[in-house]
Symmetry: C2
Subunit: 283 residues, 2 copies
């Protein structure tokens, strides 16, 4: 019998999304108030997978919230409301939970996002935190994964790789950056880099039907090129704009390549075979 | 160090909600479109806690969705959009996941509710499903846990107890019943019975500052009185209306007692000491 390890997370999500008309982007895009879109996104973190038993609970909460805020950022949205589902062992100190909530709240507050509810359950083995967020975005400022055009310049908002050394627990979601971008530029396509540049470029290919030619020397790497390509949890934004806009962005962000017609990812003109983190096919 | 087992789920949620202005009811109540309230709720189910490894995945999906729909029903809301976070072992058959989604969709569809997105992660031990729902309710038809008035008649929409024999996997959330009630009556307070009548009466006491005098012989029990009081997962609605409205409701629902001034739960005029299911203090 075919398991989800056989088809990988990409394969599974592709299969599930095929039946869901609003899915397939970083957030679901729904009718919202006052001519805006309502955004809806959720993202689980699990002990032993996304954080360790020894990770300070404040940081667990921060990460669980910031990952979701990053999905709102990827659509150029403004986050609004959050609900939190907690799975906890009964032996968990009360202090652990209040610290976790302090982290959740601290990550959300700077963006005007408020926790408005949630639920708890007990677990025997693996605690988890699932945050669900709503957001809003003006129709003309919505950015999807699709929309990149051949000839576009490709940018990332920050350095990539090595997030597990600490950044994955402390990063600032790129909401302000995304809002600034869509205020001043026509952003054609955008995604947050959660599973590694290589995988998230591939997602833009699948969504947009175009490809990417990335210049290895232009990738802003925290360590090795390989780490910058395949490490997960950078939570920087990957986006494309018309080539004529590139000049005004180079002083702020990192231009790493061009959009091409052929729906493949190239690294220095050769097919990129590396891929990033897959939940059901761990390296 | 005090653990969450020491304070119980009631204690933990009371502590967390104290800091959350919109929390404390079955759903968060937020500003919505066209003068309506937006409702937001989430509810996790975990393998080994809410369902068994052998439970058919269609039923797991059904239950995960129906529990959330029941929270929307408790506010007299109409469900709209759902997102789903899945924690799965990599060895899970693909078929298991598509069946789970079939159950999620089947439970949601009759109410016009649509799954619009989600995310997946791997787990080592305990799979989980977290559904988050949005809903809407007209301002004048919103019903909260608070609002019961001394002298009100207290009703439940169906038989209680013994849900674990099967109903917990197949129940129909009482959305139509709640909508009918608020179309024809002024419902003062409402909650869905998820952790047993005894516990959920206590929640209405905490929310509304009034009490309940329940008549044991009037409780519609599937088995023993004790089971009807403390078994969880009935997912019937518990609500109060003015005594003058009780006559018109008795042919449809079960009148079980009266609202009293004193903020306690009485069973045949004596304090009820039994309590229902507590996630962090399992019986």
């Amino acid at each position: 019998m075919k398991t989800i390890r056989d088809i990988g997370e990409f394969g599974l999500i592709r299969k599930l999304c095929a039946r869901l008309p609003h899915a397939g982007d970083d957030c679901a895009i729904l009718p919202g108030p006052r001519g805006k879109h309502l955004l809806l996104t959720c993202d689980p973190v699990v002990e032993g997978i996304h954080y360790l038993p020894a990770t300070p609970p404040y940081r667990v909460g921060w990460k669980a919230m910031a990952r979701n805020l990053s999905d709102i950022a990827a659509m150029s949205g403004v986050p609004k409301w959050a609900v939190v589902s907690l799975g906890l062992r009964p032996t968990t100190p009360v202090r652990y939970v209040t610290e976790l909530y302090r982290g959740l709240t601290a990550a959300a507050r700077p963006f005007g996002c408020q926790i408005v509810g949630g639920d708890t359950t007990h677990v025997r083995h693996e605690p988890f935190v699932v945050v669900t967020l709503t957001g809003e975005v003006e129709r003309r400022r919505l950015v999807r994964r699709s929309g990149a055009k051949p000839g576009d310049a490709v940018f990332v908002t920050g350095k990539l790789g090595g997030s597990l050394r600490g950044k994955h627990l402390t990063f600032t979601p790129r909401i302000r950056e995304a809002r600034w971008l869509t205020q001043h530029f026509r952003v054609h396509a955008m995604i947050d880099i959660s599973d590694g540049l290589a995988s998230d470029l591939q997602r833009l290919v699948e969504a947009g039907g175009v490809g990417f030619d990335i210049r290895a020397e232009k990738i802003p790497a925290n360590g090795s090129l390989r780490a910058a390509l395949i490490d997960g949890e950078d939570f920087e934004l990957l986006f494309t704009v018309a080539a004529r806009d590139a000049g005004r962005l180079r002083s702020r962000y990192f231009e790493i390549g061009r959009v091409i017609k052929q729906p493949v990812v190239l690294l220095d003109h050769r097919p990129l075979t590396a891929h990033g983190y897959d939940h059901f096919q761990p390296r």
